[in-house]
Amino acid sequence: MRFLYLLFYCSAIFAQSPIISSSEISYHGSHFMHDWVGTSTSADSKMVYDNQLNSGSVTVRVRLDSFDSRLSSRDSNMLFYTDAMDHPVVLFKSTNINIKSDSVYIEGDMTFHGITKQIKTVAAMFTQESPKISGSFNINLSDYNIERPTLLFVKIADKIRIEYSFIIE
């Protein structure tokens, strides 16, 4: 019964040309001294669905300078190390989306620092009140050729966790 409801719900949101009304994307960095989180709520996200092909796609575009880690000097450093003047935007474009039960299996390409890598992530779908999709995945800064900043002679961790959450209308 729950599955039928989800199937109906998903068909409904795609059939209505779903709009991502709000989003929250955060990166989680760590250093031996402390961990921190930088959040952006101003991603430009688009979802399209082709009824004939029975497939959908998602494009998410977020400016690096929109991330706020509650410490402007760290944000400024992040913009320097990610070369945000030449590559101001991180772009994710899905290549395959599968919905099974209340999980969304997403595959796509993420372009960051001018380098495109494939990303696989599983998002949880919440249908209460405002429909929401949220999930996370990890990236390595070294995969995107990003030099890691140092604090007190020690580099930050290479692994960065990305968390995302989208509210769909």
Partner: protein
Amino acid sequence: MKLFTFFICLTVSLSAQLDTTITNIDNMPLRTKLLWGEKGFFRQINFGPDSRKDELKLRVKMLQNHQKLALTSLGLVAYQSYLGNQMSEGDYSKRDAHRTFSKITWGAYMASASLSYFAPPAQKYDSRISSMKIHQWLSYVHFIGMMALPVLGKNIATSNDYNKALSNHQNVASITFASMSISALLTFLPY
């Protein structure tokens, strides 16, 4: 579908242009404004890197060296405190060492302070109170302390009131050391 994706890519590439705008420039510290602001001193004499990108590169290098020199200075100030306390307890054999290290400590501190104060502006500022903002405020306290300490130290030998002169030197040294230590500890905090 392909045409739609093409237009998204086109829009993204057109909008992803070089961005050199400093976010919340109004919150830039006054000392940075005076040096690197639109009408700042370094702008007037055309001093500094040619591009904003190179400015940021220089800033990062200067602040990394600031960290290293500041920790060295803190260690030297701690050693100077030890030597000074030995002297105040009557061990005057430490006098030459205290005098020599005062110059090294002062030089290391001023070099470290210069690297921070003269660094080109960041790419982003905000009005919130953060550990780094308190770190900056405390820098004014220990900078004034470091400027006053050599004068107060010399005053001990020349003053008519030895005890008062010693007490002034010790009090300012304690405040300077404490504010430097707190400044260092604040860099460990995440926010």
